[in-house]
């Protein structure tokens, strides 16, 4: 944790856009894995449990990865 904090301070600030993209990438991989396991698309709550992120937060994060004109994709990077 100290490491992370130092990183945050050294780097100034972590932008939301970046962290959402990370979650979004993780979600995409998890979706592929779960689709294979289940033989169907996972539901949002199944993904939410697997990733340990509330469904609503997951929805917001996934927005970051999917659209070029998204709220979060371009700013601050």
């Amino acid at each position: 944790i100290g490491e992370i904090k130092r990183f945050i301070r050294d780097d100034g600030i972590i932008k939301v856009s970046r962290s959402l993209k990370e979650i979004s990438n993780k979600a995409r991989v998890t979706k592929e894995i779960m689709s294979k396991e289940l033989g169907r698309e996972p539901s949002i709550s199944e993904m939410s449990i697997r990733l340990n992120i509330p469904a609503e937060e997951l929805v917001m994060a996934m927005e970051a990865g999917c659209s070029p004109e998204s709220l979060y994709s371009t700013v601050g990077e």
């Binding site: 169907r40 698309e41 539901s43 709550s45 469904a55 997951l58 929805v59 917001m60 927005e63 709220l71």
Partner: protein, 142 residues
């Protein structure tokens, strides 16, 4: 049919709010535990409806857009409305490829997309008064 949950949202007709409306609708509907694909259908349809309010309803001027969302046991109804210029000929507007703004390189496929991705859409509009789009979607049972 009594909704099990309900929300109403109002926001300015800015293109930056299109993504916001899409996330808000998807986050609310996620309470019904849809699949990612069903969620994507909702997001795409909300995007098209909100974009229409911004570009056609208010013609990129200022105005308020309302979105409401009712959740039922296994379905959702989403309403998007503006108080802008309205639609003269609804039948024509619904036609695939019809656009009143070809100069903006609009595809004319907005209503077709909504009809494809949702189970039912209703267009209510009066010239000079505004437009209301009601979209209904059923989710796969668990």
């Amino acid at each position: 049919m009594q909704p099990i949950n309900e929300m109403k949202l109002e926001f300015l007709s800015r293109s930056s709010n299109e993504a916001f409306a899409r996330v808000a609708a998807a986050a609310f509907v996620s309470q019904l535990d849809p699949t990612l694909e069903e969620l994507a259908d909702i997001k795409t349809s909300v995007s098209e409806a909100v974009t229409n309010c911004i570009i056609h309803g208010y013609e990129n001027g200022d105005g308020y857009i309302k979105m409401s969302c009712m959740l039922y046991e296994n379905s959702a109804e989403i309403t998007v409305s503006d108080q802008g210029r309205g639609i003269d000929d609804i039948e024509m507007a619904r036609q695939p490829l019809y656009t009143s703004k070809p100069e903006l390189e609009r595809s004319g496929m907005g209503f077709t997309v909504m009809e494809t991705f949702m189970d039912e859409i209703k267009i209510i509009s009066e010239p000079g008064m505004g437009t209301t789009i009601k979209m209904f979607k059923r989710f796969s049972p668990k």
